[in-house]
Symmetry: C2
Subunit: 339 residues, 2 copies
Amino acid sequence: MSEDRRLDVLRAIVEDYVATREPVGSRALTERHAIGVSPATIRNDMAALEDAGLIVQPHTSAGRVPTDLGYRVFVDRLSGVKPLSAAEKRAIGTLLEQAVDLDDVIDRAVRLLAQLTQQVAVVQYPSLRRSALRHVELVPVGARHLLVVIITTTGRVEQRTLELREDVDEAVVAQLRVRLNVAAAGLRLPDLDVALDALADEFAADGSALARAVVAVVGETLAQEREERVVVAGASHLARSAGADFPHTIGPVLEALEEQVVLLRLLSEMAEDSAGVAVRIGRETQHEGLAETSIVTSGYGAEGGVAVLGSVGPLRMDYPGTMSAVRAVARYLTRILAG
Amino acid sequence: MSEDRRLDVLRAIVEDYVATREPVGSRALTERHAIGVSPATIRNDMAALEDAGLIVQPHTSAGRVPTDLGYRVFVDRLSGVKPLSAAEKRAIGTLLEQAVDLDDVIDRAVRLLAQLTQQVAVVQYPSLRRSALRHVELVPVGARHLLVVIITTTGRVEQRTLELREDVDEAVVAQLRVRLNVAAAGLRLPDLDVALDALADEFAADGSALARAVVAVVGETLAQEREERVVVAGASHLARSAGADFPHTIGPVLEALEEQVVLLRLLSEMAEDSAGVAVRIGRETQHEGLAETSIVTSGYGAEGGVAVLGSVGPLRMDYPGTMSAVRAVARYLTRILAG
DNA sequence: ATTGGCACTCGCGCTCGCCGAGTGCTACCC
DNA sequence: GGGTAGCACTCGGCGAGCGCGAGTGCCAAT
């Protein structure tokens, strides 16, 4: 009994099941795939695959369906790449290039990815913590408020309002702005923290409460996990496969997707798994609500990535297709953000 | 046959149906509501209500269910207000006050509203077109790029990058910044357009391409419909009522909610319907995908509102409760944004 | 190791018949 | 004239029973 053929059988099962949504039987396999053996032989192989925990039958005398483990083996060892057409690539490039600002880029990217994969797409905003500071702007608002606008090299713009105890002195603010930018611009954590600390020390001597407050707020904003953001699109694609792929309801999945915290943790875990495209299948997501989904992600952004994006779909998804779409969008996004 | 009692019957039907999800029969009505008449009498009233198109029976010999029109009458004439508890009000206030910036406020508000209504919540960002300009900041980035940061009184911060044909002259930029802010700060459309046009004319004389480009980009950004943004939360609540309230699938509803354009048009239409809380029931939404939902909205923000927020749920929703939640959140949001 | 044959299992879809909720109608009452 | 009681009727939902067919596992043969 050849090991190779057994894996061929597994691949055929996965492909057929993904295509038809129906448990696949030994006869159907021999008809659709030119494996040169009879159904009976296939049945033996299937029995072995079932023993190995790669496939199961939903009930006696139905066909076989891949298990999570089966999909895992398929993804790791069996699936080829499925390159995008030139037209698709061009479409991605032009769509993303038309964006006017970061929000727009992210918005376009997430919709695009949802569209390409026909699944739910997820895009994390460039992480503030991994971005370098481009510029800090201080805008006095009325006599007692100071608006701090923080701009990163990845295009994010964050603002915070400081409430002051004394009236704003324009000259002091102007000087602070200059020193802050000279000291910190171009830096990212953890260097940035060092620079900010040094700056705070300098001002501590002057006893300038204003300066220390500003430095503090800049540091906090860039360091806070709460500032990480994710956007989701294509939830309606979930509904399409509701009855078929999700035995019960898609409620838990939608809930998980709205839980930014959960999603962020998962995305960053996956970013660590692999520099390129990472895949989590079913329970590997380590999250109850996502136990019946798979997630394909990729980091994007320069130097190993400032953030992560991905696609969430049913266990029974087109892995090769999804993986190449995710990778393609990640690459284009990286290029746009660098430009 | 008393007209008043007939409407009482309608109210009872709506309330029971909303509570139980089941068609309500004449007997059940007399048991649950102390209307002082027999089931037979109720039946006569029901026949009349059915003739009037306010209720229907799903099939012969099932109870009655309100029609869109029935809900309409209920909302317009029968439903009282359902005030929130003091605790709820306090919770709303404190939750929203903790927000650190506009994004955070909106995010909190939309989640809160979803939570309160147990439905999908929708919040539009303060419209740029209806906001006044607070400040424009110009930040040179490299030699040939200028970042234009636009801050409105409602707290929105938008940025645009301009690509220049000549090197940036710091002094010119500084002067432009001052003049721009002097001329335009505090204004909103259409006054703002006038001020910007005047400014552009001034600079036209100087032949300063830079200035004209900046003025143009500010004007465009504040005028563009494309810049309107909506955020959605609580989609998972839809799934809960999937089988029961939505005969087919919630796919079309989710699609409609992701179509920002559609949603925005609907929201602004509704804002015009009424200064306070507006309700669209079923087909009144004028949108195929939302034909089986109702939407309750309210404007928020100072002076008749800078934007709209609302809740989307099944036809069979708790109208009084939803309406008061929507109104409450709108009020708190108005207050926070003003402060 | 592979194959053809064969008995067996079992889920799905169908029909059928019952039950009960709910109605509309008519005759009666105040 | 409006309200009520009684009654025959309708029809959807539910469960039982049944047949079909896909698919299996095993065994004997090659």
